[in-house]
Symmetry: C2
Subunit: 136 residues, 2 copies
């Protein structure tokens, strides 16, 4: 199973410290935050630039991995849905996807806009948005 083990590349540093205050999606008032990437990852970051729109992948380590159905947005008044048709953090592999814009770069620390992830969330990957899909 070694091939299926994640190695976080860094952590989120954010004013969001609990799930209750976390907005449901990034455009509902999530604060700007830092991606504190490990120094060892510096060569991988070198072509990222201020203004780039990227997808940040996180590990939603408070997600309940045994849940296959959920009330969307945690609202008990909404009908239960299968988790694969929702963005709930409760799912078998709780990987979060966050589309953000890079606001500043300080060494291996990236300041990003509107990140819906609580403080200390492990970061797994950063990928460019492909538009048009011409790069890999």
């Amino acid at each position: 199973m070694a091939g299926y083990e994640l190695e976080p590349i860094g952590r989120v540093e954010s004013a969001l410290t609990d799930l209750e205050s976390a907005p449901r999606q990034g455009d509902e008032g999530a604060p700007d935050a830092w991606l504190a990437i490990d120094e060892a990852m510096a060569p991988g970051l070198r072509d990222l630039a201020i203004g780039d729109e990227v997808i940040v992948l996180t590990w939603l380590d408070r997600g309940r991995r045994d849940e296959l159905t959920t009330h969307p947005r945690g609202d008990q008044n909404r009908p239960v849905q299968g988790v694969f048709s929702t963005r709930s953090p409760d799912r078998p592999n709780p990987i979060g996807l966050h589309t953000v814009v890079i606001l500043a770069i300080e060494g291996t620390r990236l300041r990003v806009r509107n990140l819906e992830a609580i403080d200390r969330t492990p970061i797994l990957d950063i990928k460019p948005i492909l538009e048009p899909r011409s790069e890999r």
Copy 2:
């Protein structure tokens, strides 16, 4: 580290059987393919429907996890870039993101259009596209 271990929810079934014949991105001729999801995941799939556009997350298990720089698209004539500004499968946590449309559903098997992933690739998650970002 138990919290960082991935548990695939299924496998890709595709006519693509090697990296050489795999297109670089899904719109460059990737074939339709099946997502063969484990029966145990059925409750999580129940609200997915034909025509839905979803993001499939895969584990690119042939990726080289120790690479932090790469020639984009494997082209030695292109200048080296940091992996986090590319979609290279060679990266510390080789998670693939694939935007696809569901063409058919047979039990826990989903037929999808244009999937750039080779046969037997482990599937980690399925998420809806959020547009507008109103759901979670």
